[in-house]
């Protein structure tokens, strides 16, 4: 059965390692914070200027001066720090953030990502996504395997305007976990529970390498 959003977030949370600094994009990536394992400590960075981001505040304790990059009210945890935007992207560009999780409209089998603009639709902008994908050494994309029309979002080449080239390392969709390899393209590493390799193959347009053994995810 295909994973729901929380399932995708849960699977990604298993990638987190003790001591990592992590930037979570808007949407499914934000949910990852809810599933951090108890035996590790990670610090969440939000690019508008906080390290050590905590959960949403209790009702009545919202502070207009304390939001995340999605403009949601948040809290700060002990050990947190605030800083300005140039410092925030300084740490992003200098690769101090060990993991970036973000959504995508399309990913290519070369690791290109398109997630900011649909021609003909109102363009809202790239926000910090282009900076993040250009610098992060470890990018996981969280997305549905197909779009609303049922077309694959895993392509040979992105058709939408590019956010960054050759940057995505791993993709977790509702159907599968895939890695991006420069020679092999998408490498199918795990299937969602009950999802067949055939279904994944049929819903993937980009070059896909299927190893002999593709285990089901454990979540």
């Amino acid at each position: 059965m295909a994973l729901d959003k929380n399932g995708i977030a849960k699977r990604i949370a298993k990638e987190l390692k003790d001591g990592w600094y992590v930037n979570l994009g808007i949407g499914i990536p934000t949910l990852v914070a809810n599933y951090v394992q108890d035996d590790i400590k990670v610090e969440f960075q939000s690019e508008n200027g906080i390290l050590g981001m905590g959960p949403f505040p209790l009702e009545g304790e919202e502070d207009a001066d304390l939001i995340n990059a999605g403009k949601q009210t948040i809290t700060s945890l002990p050990g947190s720090s605030f800083f300005d935007s140039s410092m925030s992207f300084a740490m992003i560009r200098s690769k101090k953030i060990q993991l970036t999780v973000l959504g995508a409209m399309e990913v290519s089998d070369q690791g290109d990502i398109a997630n900011w603009k649909i021609p003909g639709k109102m363009v809202k902008g790239m926000g910090g996504a282009m900076d993040l994908v250009a610098s992060a050494e470890n990018i996981i994309v969280a997305m549905q395997h197909t779009n609303r029309k049922g077309d694959s979002k895993l392509l040979e080449k992105c058709t939408l305007p590019i956010t960054g080239l050759n940057c995505v390392k791993k993709i977790v969709t509702d159907l599968a976990v895939l890695e991006v390899h420069s020679e092999l393209g998408f490498v199918l590493r795990e299937r969602a529970p009950g999802v067949s390799v055939e279904e994944i193959v049929s819903k993937t347009i980009g070059k896909l390498f299927v190893p002999d053994n593709v285990p089901e995810m454990s979540i």
Binding site: N48, S85, G125
Partner: protein, 233 residues
């Protein structure tokens, strides 16, 4: 002796003219110079090119200048959440230049640091890199980006003193420090305006040397864009 402290908003905007390029601190509605924006609306300055990470919402923030047709061009990283913005952009009334957020911040910081240009990897291979110089460093392509050039910067701080020293609070800091450094004339509005010597010199985020005018804002509405809460147990 000269004082940076101003007592009415006309003084704050002295020299602001049609067609100027102006920076506004803030991220979303967080840390925006509300009082200066209201004053610019009242003054009616037109054809402004605004450098601001976002463009406000309908009826608040830079939305107030948009609906009054005072903005010719927005230079931002993200501009959603604003119907009037969308209408003006689609109708061609409003020009929009979208810039990666980190590049936007760094171009402000560069302007305030006397660095006319720098290389960044952000945007390589995208339409942002169009017509820009590309150079490879450590095996990775980077693009050349230039410092902004803004006649005014309007910023909002938490505490300030008479010499212009500023301290920001929480994530309301965001673009305010870099823009404060970048303005040819920088106008700071603060929640608390204190005598010189009231702020801990080690705790100052932006030294007064960058600030030309400072005033205590009369109203800070501080609207929240996305009120998200956790449930009480």
């Amino acid at each position: 002796m000269i004082s940076k402290v101003i007592h009415n908003l006309d003084e704050a905007l002295d020299g602001l003219e049609d067609n100027m390029t102006v920076m506004f601190g803030g991220f979303g509605l967080c840390g925006i110079p509300e009082n200066s924006i209201a004053a610019i609306r009242k003054k009616g300055t037109k054809n402004l090119t605004c450098i601001s990470n976002n463009a406000g919402i309908d009826g608040f923030g830079l939305g107030l200048l948009l609906e009054n047709h005072q903005i010719k061009k927005m230079i931002s990283s993200y501009v959603g959440e604003n119907d009037e913005f969308e209408r003006q952009m689609l109708s061609g009334e409003l020009e929009v230049e979208l810039i990666p957020q980190g590049t936007l911040a760094e171009r402000c910081r560069a302007a305030g640091s006397g660095i006319p240009a720098f290389f960044t990897p952000a945007g390589h291979g995208t339409e942002v890199a169009k017509d820009k110089e590309v150079r490879v460093f450590n095996g990775k392509p980077h693009i050349l980006e230039h410092a902004f050039n803004a006649s005014f910067a309007f910023v909002k701080a938490w505490k300030g003193d008479e010499t212009g020293n500023l301290i920001f609070k929480g994530t309301a800091r965001n673009f305010n420090p870099s823009m404060a450094m970048a303005g040819k004339i920088t106008v700071a509005e603060v929640e608390e305006l204190l005598p010189a010597g009231s702020l801990e010199p080690n705790a100052i985020h932006i030294p007064g040397v960058f600030i030309h005018r400072i005033f205590k804002g009369s109203v800070f509405e501080k609207r929240i864009e996305q009120r998200t809460v956790s449930k009480h147990n």
